[in-house]
Amino acid sequence: MPDALVATGLGKRYRISTRPPATTLGERFAQLVRAPFRGAGADEELWALRDLEFRIPAGSAVGIIGRNGAGKSTLLKILSRVTPPTTGEVRLRGRVGSLLEVGTGFHPELTGRENIFLNGAILGMRRREIAARFDAIVAFAEVDRFLETPVKRYSSGMYVRLAFAVAAHLEPEILIVDEVLAVGDAEFQRKCLGKMGEVAGEGRTVVFVSHSMQAVSALTQRVLLLDKGRCVFDGPTSDGLARYRAMQGVGEADGARFVADADDRPRNRVRAARVVTSDPGAVHRCGEPLTLEFDLAVPEPASTLCFSCKVVDAEDRNIVHLWCFERDARFRREAGDYTLRFEVPRARLFEGAYTLRAFLSDRRTNTMYDELHGICRFEVTMDGLARDDYAWSAGDCTYLESAGWTLARAGDPAVQRGTVAP
């Protein structure tokens, strides 16, 4: 098989200004007047990608994994031509279709039918191609009853299904997929994985970026592991995932903390996150109060700004979902730096390791400002909740509930009482 994709010496440099960049013409003029011989403020350099070399044979499915800030999204942006590289080159054989974010290019006021045509055109399809595949797209997305409904009335599941369906029917030789499976129900995720597998089976190439280890191992035979902009592993998926897990372990000394890389561009984002556990060393005793804190930078408030987070277990399952979609939340009206605290009075997570996912988005424009995965790893123990007779074992449950119990013997009015869990 010839190579579908060859990258040589690929690098991307961002200039980071030590002073805030001018965002208005007025500021820019003021800067020019004060320091006429300095540039726009290019003072520091950050290599988001450095010296990347790899080849991907046609018909294979390759996963790209790495921590937040490792350079995955920069690589995808280069592959999909959104941003040019600073050094090196990529050779792509065949049409590239990218599914970077669900619903990019959907317009909430347009109907499902209108959006299929619009989104297809944005992804590079010709009108008659879309018309020819229209029925297949609708059938795959299961939205036939809602074709004439504006997509703003769609559920998020329907939204994702439609977006994926359009991109999947683009039938590109190279399909670039970025974390689309985070949304949608389990059945649809299976369907999407199936469709991607099918695409790879037809001799097309799939480049797949995901934080879901299950999805990566189900779909790909090979992974590239990125760290600080460099490729640190290129080989079989199982070895790559093991290496990635080991790499994440290194950061454990930090405990349940996450601090985002410095970024001077004024954009809505999550600056930092903390999990305040009951015990030191990021250890939490089941049933104790648990606090999740997020530092948010909101330079651009929006009337439908939404923050949500999930507590995720070691098997990548979402266990707890917390959100702040309050209509009059202050960050929807005023720019500024915020700290959002979720206080769970009694966190009854079952023993095991957990991480957080966090999402900062705008529902109306369907913009995902920030999306973090695998941050703030912490451990839950069942210390102090010992059960006689049956010791706790993995898989007993995912979450404990407290309950009162009563025990009554037939024909006896006396009732025995007790409680379960704290």
Partner: protein, 282 residues
């Protein structure tokens, strides 16, 4: 299953390099992505009148209301002469040309920022966005022309042979507007205050151009200065071709057309120089 037919004139091997500028040129890019251009234009047209009480009636009402106000303020109150045609027709014709220019300029300038999620996520020739504002502006203009034709027939004002030059005036106005719009949109990506400066500039330009009055009312000693504004000969010329009023002097027409073409070329050059940075800055 056979591989799908190649589309969008993509070469079989695509090389992405730091300097790999587009290979097709602006016109080639726009042609290759004409379906996207139409889809975006179609979206804007549909959205404009969806969830509005009057719906499509707005297309007819807007120019008529504008011309009525101008007729009252400038024709009745100020009593400005109108080159021998009814003042309402006079200002309606100029407003149609003006709306074409201003509509393309303001919509094209905002097009990149309004579609920033697209720019950050998907690749396509960026010029598709400003260019996709053309069809809506042209359709509005054609509707205004139809209305004008009806009113001229009713008022028994006959156009002369010069009506054949209407497409040329429209072309010059559109090039001028799109050239400025390309520059405006590229600036707005980096500098958001452009969106506040621009409407002020457009408003000033309205009164510096022969929309409510005729250039024949401008005092002789200011006329040379007056005709420096490329819109002056272009709007005068459009009106003359529609209503049979006097044509502006030939040298001013040459000047206006040259500036329009020059602005368009400059705008396209500036846009293409900056376009690769858009996704990083927006």
């Amino acid at each position: 299953m056979p591989p799908p037919p190649p589309t969008h004139a993509d070469p079989p091997v695509l090389v992405i390099r730091p300097d790999s500028a587009r290979t097709l040129g602006l016109a080639g890019d726009l042609w290759a992505f004409r379906d996207l251009l139409w889809s975006l234009a179609d979206r804007d047209l549909r959205l404009r009148y969806r969830q509005t009480a009057l719906g499509v009636a707005w297309v007819l009402l807007q120019p008529v209301l504008g011309a009525l106000i101008f007729t009252f303020v400038f024709g009745v109150v100020a009593g400005l002469p109108s080159d021998g045609v009814p003042y309402f027709l006079f200002t309606f014709a100029s407003l149609a040309g003006w709306a074409l220019f201003a509509g393309i300029l303001t919509r094209a300038s905002g097009s990149l920022v309004q579609n920033s999620p697209l720019i950050a996520k998907v690749w396509f020739p960026r010029a598709v966005l400003p260019a996709s504002t053309l069809p809506a502006a042209l359709i509005d203009f054609l509707i205004a022309l139809l209305l004008l034709g009806g009113m001229m027939a009713w008022a028994e004002v006959a156009p002369g042979i010069a009506i054949l030059t209407v497409p040329l005036w429209v072309l010059a106005l559109a090039m001028l507007a799109l050239g400025l719009g390309l520059i405006g949109s590229a600036l707005m990506v980096s500098y958001r205050d452009v969106q506040h400066i621009l409407p002020v500039g457009v408003q000033l330009l309205l009164y510096a151009s022969p929309v409510a009055y005729s250039a024949s009312n401008v005092p002789e000693r200011f006329l040379a200065l007056y005709y420096l504004n490329p819109l002056a000969p272009l709007l005068e010329g459009l009106r003359a071709s529609l209503l049979g009023t006097p044509m502006p002097p030939t040298n001013t027409i040459v000047w206006g057309a040259t500036v329009a073409l020059g602005t368009f070329v400059l705008g396209a050059a500036v846009f293409r120089r900056l376009e690769r940075r858009f996704a990083d800055v927006i």
